[in-house]
């Protein structure tokens, strides 16, 4: 009886391992696809240079006019590095909603559903590959720019170690949100508008223009309570101002958001699948 139990456990483990390998292969192909167009990725990253340059000028002027070296705990050095960190996540977002929307409308979804893999996980691996390449390029270009503008970063080794983890979780939260919006194509004529609103809410309330501490009350508390801060503000702050308590709090918030978002995504996906009609021909 014991031997049977061990065998079935092994079989389950083997199945999990094969599934992981399968999605790891999709991720690798997606990374290689994006690395093949390196110059395009590089030119995309130049927008980050423009945006960070504009924002750095705004904050340099603000610091100078108020004759302050520290505003809400941020010096001009940490502020610029914060902006780079937040923008590197924000500007690495691929057009996920558009792709899902098109697959639903064109009927290509039906072909993908027939594959021996989960449609959601396949798309996650594909999305992550694309996003990781863009994010890495943004970090490289951004780090060069910030070093030129304000000198070496004020990071601690804990912040540097935590940064990839919290960024990965932030990208996963983005995936869940934009994938759900893409699935809205089953019910709505237009999904880009929802995606646009979500991205703008993430940018403004997520703290891409400035750390949320800078803003006045009650806006600060509202923005901190909303989930958008866990996508940009939380990871960027962890990098430039690492605090153990805040790091655990952010991790908990991100994991909770992923779990709740994941459940919502599964429900929407299940309901949407009932609307798929596949006709032979």
């Amino acid at each position: 009886m014991d031997a049977v139990g061990v065998r079935s456990e092994r079989r389950v483990m083997q199945r999990w391992r094969l599934a992981l390998l399968k999605y790891a292969a999709v991720l690798r192909v997606s990374v290689e696809n994006n690395l093949a167009y390196m110059m395009e990725v590089f030119f995309r990253a130049l927008l980050l240079v423009v945006l960070v340059f504009i924002l750095s000028q705004l904050w340099k002027t603000t610091f100078a006019l108020h004759k302050e070296k520290i505003l809400s705990g941020f010096s001009i050095n940490t502020m610029i590095w914060y902006l780079i960190a937040a923008e590197s996540i924000a500007l690495s977002l691929p057009a996920l909603t558009k792709r899902i929307d098109q697959e639903v409308r064109s009927g290509q979804l039906a072909y993908l559903l027939g594959r021996p893999c989960s449609y959601i996980l396949y798309n996650f691996a594909h999305y992550l590959g694309e996003r990781l390449v863009r994010w890495s390029m943004n970090c490289l270009v951004g780090a060069g720019l910030a070093t030129l503008m304000v000198g070496w970063p004020p990071f601690t080794w804990q912040g540097l170690l935590a940064w990839p983890l919290v960024s990965l979780l932030a990208m996963s939260i983005d995936f869940v949100a934009y994938f759900c919006i893409g699935l809205f194509a089953f019910w709505f004529e237009e999904t880009q508008a929802f995606s646009f609103v979500f991205s703008r809410l993430t940018l403004v309330l997520g703290g891409v223009l400035a750390p949320l501490e800078i803003f006045p009350q009650p806006f600060r508390s509202i923005a901190l309570a909303l989930p958008f801060g866990a996508i940009l503000y939380g990871p960027a702050r962890t990098l430039v101002h690492f605090e153990v308590d805040r790091f655990y709090q952010l991790l908990l918030q991100q994991i909770l958001m992923l779990v709740i978002g994941g459940v919502i995504l599964l429900v929407i996906y299940r309901v949407a699948l009932r609307r798929v009609n596949i006709n032979g021909g």
């Binding site: 395009e40 030119f43 995309r44 130049l46 927008l47 423009v50 945006l51 504009i54 000028q57 705004l58 340099k60 002027t61 603000t62 006019l65 108020h66 709505f188 004529e189 237009e190 880009q192 508008a193 929802f194 646009f196 609103v197 703008r200 809410l201 403004v204 223009l209 400035a210 800078i214 803003f215 006045p216 806006f219």
Partner: protein, 267 residues
């Protein structure tokens, strides 16, 4: 007399296209309304950021929240008119690449104008709605200021369109420049929506020459604050110059254009 007749005829063509394009996007009424409201909400969010910023830091080089409202209203309305009326200008580089200009070159009207007015961007109406609402309800202008505002946003819409045509016309010489055009146009929009006083030296010079953000945000704002004829002349001059450069680039590029032998239909 002949030129007045031609001008009226051209204006009627632009108006007819604008109406037809809007009717076409209105076919998907719900989607159109959602897109318009979304863009209005997007612009309002940025203005909200500025409100919170000025709440915390009341003055930035003499700038106040009403100045930012005017700056955003002029930029958004100028961009909105450009995208709503001349919305196809951004497709110019792909038309050049794919040989899609053939359909326009064989028509009796001026081809560049025809290309630009052939499509609209429905979200642009959201920008216009936001700009007009913000200007009227937050700035409380008098009748003269409203007239000035209308004149200035028409000029900024020409600058936006001309800049896009210049960028897309690079496709005649350099091949696929779609990405470059998008990045540069994005940069123009970004620079136009921040106070000009935060930029100094060479950057400021660039913003009044290579990337004309100063003529989209700074000069219109100054004119709406204190009107002076020399400044107005500079604004008109810059607009005319931008349009002439755009037409010149397109004409020059057209000599290098190779037909794609595409069969197209303009219904």
């Amino acid at each position: 007399m002949l030129s007045v007749k031609r001008l009226i005829s051209t204006l009627r063509l632009i108006a007819s296209y604008a109406v037809a394009n809007t009717q076409a996007v209105m076919e998907y009424r719900a989607a159109f309304i959602v897109q318009v409201l979304t863009m209005t909400a997007n612009d309002s969010l940025w203005l909200f950021f500025w409100w919170t910023y000025f709440h915390q830091f009341p003055l930035t080089n003499g700038w106040q929240i009403t100045d930012i409202v005017i700056l955003w209203a002029v930029s958004a309305c100028g961009f909105g008119i450009s995208a709503a009326v001349f919305g196809n200008a951004r497709q110019l580089s792909s038309l050049v690449m794919n040989g899609g200009l053939d359909a326009y070159l064989s028509m009796p009207r001026y081809s560049l104008l025809h290309v630009c007015i052939a499509a609209t961007d429905p979200t642009a109406w959201g920008d216009i709605l936001f700009a007009v609402g913000a200007y009227l309800f937050l700035v409380h202008p008098n009748a003269i200021h409203i007239v000035f505002f209308m004149v200035l946003v028409i000029m900024t819409s020409f600058i936006f369109t001309a800049f896009m045509v210049i960028l897309c016309s690079l496709a005649f010489f350099l091949g696929n420049t779609e990405g470059l055009a998008q990045q540069m146009f994005g940069a123009l929009i970004s620079f136009s929506t921040y106070p000009m006083d935060i930029f100094h030296g060479a950057v400021r010079l660039l913003l009044f020459t290579v990337m004309p953000a100063g003529f989209i945000s700074f000069i219109p704002l100054q004119l709406l604050r204190h009107f002076t004829w020399p400044l107005f002349g500079a604004m008109v001059g810059a607009t005319v110059l931008m349009v002439l450069i755009a037409v010149g680039m397109f004409e020059l590029g057209l000599r290098r254009y190779e037909s794609g032998n595409l069969l197209g239909m303009q219904a």
